[in-house]
């Protein structure tokens, strides 16, 4: 039964996401559009599943939703901080730094989400991954304490992502 389910729907959440995106694209809700969205949501993951063999199995939607809300808030706060840095700190006093974040996440999807989060919160850009995927290279715009930045990324984002993709 589960095998049949995963054969038909290799990525169940992707199916749902595609249906929602389709309905949003239509800009009005009708039953026919919802059904067509669901059909697309079945066909597209099914057709592309050959190139995407590993389904992340334990994905917690509720925790992901609260994570997204938290990241939104962080983006707003960090935007104001970085705008202040841009306007007030002269170039000579700017202290950019590379920080290396050792990763405990192993799933590629989880690492992608972490790297995206780091780039979206202003002040940090994720630049590169080490050749075997055990650490993430992050560039910080202005910091006095690179250790604290690394701890913040590890405790605030990575720990939560480990729970989401467990």
């Amino acid at each position: 039964m589960t095998r049949a389910f995963y054969w038909l729907l290799p990525h169940p959440f992707l199916t749902l996401l595609l249906a929602v995106v389709w309905i949003l694209l239509q800009n009005e809700f009708s039953a026919g559009m919802a059904v067509f969205g669901l059909i697309l949501g079945v066909i597209i993951p099914w057709g592309t599943s050959i190139w995407w063999p590993d389904t992340p199995k334990g994905f917690r939607v509720g925790k992901m939703a609260s994570y997204i809300v938290m990241v939104m808030w962080d983006i707003i706060v960090a935007n104001i901080q970085v705008a202040w840095i841009v306007l007030t700190v002269p170039n000579a006093k700017l202290k950019p730094a590379w920080i290396v974040v050792p990763l405990e996440l192993v799933q590629p999807e989880a690492i992608t989400v972490l790297a995206g989060t780091i780039t979206l919160t202003p002040g940090t850009v994720s630049a590169d991954l080490s050749d075997e995927g055990h650490s993430l290279l992050v560039h910080v715009l202005h910091t006095d304490d690179p250790e604290a930045e690394r701890e913040l990324i590890k405790t605030r984002y990575e720990a939560r992502l480990k729970e989401i993709f467990s």
Binding site: P122, D128, D131, L141
Partner: protein
């Protein structure tokens, strides 16, 4: 005050805040003087600046009577694609040594941008180091 007046004020406020952040992003792009710090400016513009402009658009279309949800999609696609382009630019500047060389990763050999296959490691000034092909 009627609802229309409130929404039009809210729209104007959102446009104002969004424009300020985009202006700050542009100032940052001009002011900083190496590629990696400059990269921080567009990530600001892409998030809160565009977000506020799109929120203004949602509010305006709501006040006109045909509410539109396309803006949420624009937001979602921007949030998915912006980190990838930033990542590409960062990789290019690491690769061309346009910035400070990053520290060596603790558990692996090198960063994936800098890792070169053995047979491609040719130092141009020293022809002896060319690997011999059997």
């Amino acid at each position: 005050m009627s609802v229309e007046i409130v929404t039009s004020y809210a729209t104007a406020l959102c446009l104002f805040i969004g424009s300020i952040f985009i202006l700050v992003g542009a100032i940052g792009l001009l002011k900083f003087n190496d590629p990696m710090t400059r990269l921080h400016a567009p990530t600001k513009v892409g998030t809160i600046g565009i977000g506020m402009l799109l929120l203004a658009s949602i509010l305006h279309s709501y006040s006109l009577g045909d509410s539109s949800m396309h803006e949420l999609l624009i937001m979602a696609f921007l949030f998915v694609t912006a980190p990838i382009s930033a990542n590409f630019i960062a990789k290019v500047s690491i690769h061309r040594r346009a910035c400070e060389t990053p520290p060596v990763p603790p558990r692996d050999d090198t960063w994936s941008t800098l890792s070169t296959p053995e047979e491609d490691k040719i130092i141009p000034d020293m022809p002896d180091t060319k690997p011999n092909k059997a």
